[in-house]
Amino acid sequence: MNVRLYLLQRATAAIMVPLVLGHLAVIYYATRGGLTAADILARTRGSIGWGAFYGLFVLAAAIHGAIGVRTIASEWAGLRGGKLDLLMWSFGLTLAALGLRAMAAVLLP
């Protein structure tokens, strides 16, 4: 961990504080009477607001998670150097790609 990774991880953490609170509120609201696809999609399809909310969330989580996984792999699995960076980038990019794909699935009309 150096200052650049530290800044990225703490900044994405701070960004996600309100996003996680919002997401928890959605979870409580959405599960009030069982989840249905129609319910979810009615909320999300074509919504610019939800698109911005979850787009930011997905990117922040991908960066934050990738740096966290990097630290754990370094400290607990002894990974160093190029392998460590490869793990961080592949985890982050996979998470971002899967997240954006999921958003496309529920946002695009």
Binding site: N2, V3, R4, E75
Partner: protein, 240 residues
Amino acid sequence: MAMAMAIEVSIWRGRANGRYQTFTVPLDQSQTVLDVVTWVQRKLDPTLAYRFACRVGMCGSCAMTVNGRPRWTCRTHISKVVEAGRVEIGPLANMPIIKDLVCDMAEFFAKWQRAKGAFAPGKSRHDPIERISPAAAERVAADAAIECINCAVCYAACDTVRWNENYLGPAALNRAWTLVNDVRDAGQRERLAALAADGGCHACHSHHSCQEHCPKALSPVRSIAGLKRRSLEAYVRGEL
């Protein structure tokens, strides 16, 4: 009463692949862990290796692991740590063992150098002496961290040190914090750059083990939090 009693003392022998050897030591009044180790060396086995110098909690050379906890042994009464008539004494963790209770502190002190833990002078003898008010914020911050005796108890207690061989560790960073708050120091940019690098202050996970174990009741984790802020600010301003 205490004179008649004896305890079983298990002491680490050899290097990393060594083992514990058990000795029976008579209890005495006001006896420290260091007294017990000295008694074993003087009366039972003169080949036992251990370090001490001042015996009064100033020099920081006698730290050992006592029942799984790093401690300064000259200021720890044996009566406080004996459990069911037994006590286990090993070398400090996170450093290579040279022999018995003596560990190699070369890396520990090399990290003080890497953390720029030495004052960088910026003036000559012709300059007037700088006046530092004891009430100045920087002086107060440095004072809170200055009493370190380099005993490496915090270094042995820190899991981030255990997991990351690059990490400078709580003692070196605490020292750097006192210098970051020294307004006379002329090497702040280099120091902050060293502290912001891989293995520097941002590797700390705030486990607080340093603060819990420091025999001088210092709080390296607090100093490190200060360093994280100070070097982050410098980085954001583009100074690093």
